[in-house]
Symmetry: C2
Subunit: 230 residues, 2 copies
């Protein structure tokens, strides 16, 4: 039974990593579609969204089965619940990718113009936050998860700047309004991806640090020991 338990935990962990790979790929493809205007990439994102939805349910069922048959306790129980929470956040990243793909399709019907927006930079910030949060998950690293929450890396500021630059462009150049609006929505989706990644970092903290510490999250500068899972 001990071995079966370890195996089920490992399976759950592995499946969540596959899910995170799908979410990351979806974001990457959606942004590549934006950059290249190769709409076949948008099709891939839309197909991928269905695969992500399917895997979300599969992981929820694996976690439910593990809880029902193995009754994990303490650290393992919190890990299993963190998987369910992270699973939901990854699915939302898939939605964000689909929303980007949707707006790229609309963009494609208008002439290509230069806009005061740095989508590659926003992408790199979103993916950086995502990668850090997932690495914190993989390594059960509460300190890294904490750093994802405390270091915003400029995403909020960049999102605000982008919103304002595009707004004022819209006021000056009416011929690029559809392009500017759709691009504003794409920037908003990337900003939300970073938000979902921050939620994953919170899931990691819920898991590795437990109840007592969660309530003191606001005390910045605190350092707690990191526990490794398995």
């Amino acid at each position: 039974v001990g071995l079966q338990f370890e195996q089920k935990l490992a399976d759950l962990n592995n499946r969540l990593l596959v899910m995170s790979g799908l979410a990351e790929q979806a974001i990457q493809r959606a942004v590549e579609c934006y950059q290249t205007r190769d709409l076949s990439l948008c099709d891939l994102v839309d197909h991928g969204e269905r695969a992500i939805d399917h895997m979300e349910r599969e992981i929820d069922e694996m976690a439910t089965d593990l809880l029902a048959t193995q009754h994990p306790l303490a650290h393992d129980l919190r890990f299993t619940l963190a998987v369910i929470k992270t699973n939901g956040n990854l699915e939302r990243m898939g939605n964000a990718a689909a929303s980007i793909s949707n707006h790229v399709r609309r963009l494609q019907t208008f002439p290509l113009v230069n806009l005061p927006v740095d989508i590659p930079r926003m992408t790199s910030l979103a993916r950086g936050t995502m990668r850090n949060a997932l690495r914190a998950f993989i390594e059960a690293d509460g300190d890294r998860a904490q750093s994802v929450l405390s270091v915003d890396g400029g995403m909020d500021r960049l999102h605000k700047t982008t919103y304002h630059s595009l707004s004022s462009l819209i006021e000056r150049q009416s011929e690029v309004i559809p392009q500017a609006l759709n691009t504003m929505m794409i920037a908003g989706s990337l900003w939300r991806v970073a938000g979902h990644a921050r939620n994953i970092a919170e899931d990691v903290i819920f898991w590795v640090r437990g109840a007592d510490v969660i309530n003191h999250l606001q005390h910045a500068g605190n350092r707690w020991t990191t526990r490794n899972h398995r």
Copy 2:
């Protein structure tokens, strides 16, 4: 122990209802703030968001404790997991309310203008979806949850129409651009609230119908018996 178990399940259920009340109130206040431009309501929304975040953690901890000490099975296990999932969706509604309040604050710095947008109608659709999903939760009613998913009630269409009306207004009347943009963001938040409510309906289905049926959700027209919780 049986009594303690029933009590803990009831406590968890009650706390989630309080949480859903907070989320509903947040949306209501944010929209009232939009309609009356009484910014003290926005302040209440912002304070409320912190209360919602706090309660989200509290509910997650109650559910974790219940799983750790009572080892619920089958229907009760799925209920407890559905609480954790729904809890996350309610917190996101709180975020949406805060985002609306944020955009109302920006709107307030510009002259009031008439815009081709029906925020009361979008609000009523969002709150209707929310109320149906929560009622499905309270009554463990899978049929009702299913109807939340299958009847979209026109929200998607209204959201698209609003986006297009405001876009074309922006092209024609540059003097109302900031108002139109902020209102577009508010409409987007209400649309997302309805999306979170639909996610709650999915949580109810996960709970009351279990694994086998989830995989056949796409077969529309199917009717399953409703199981009542307790």
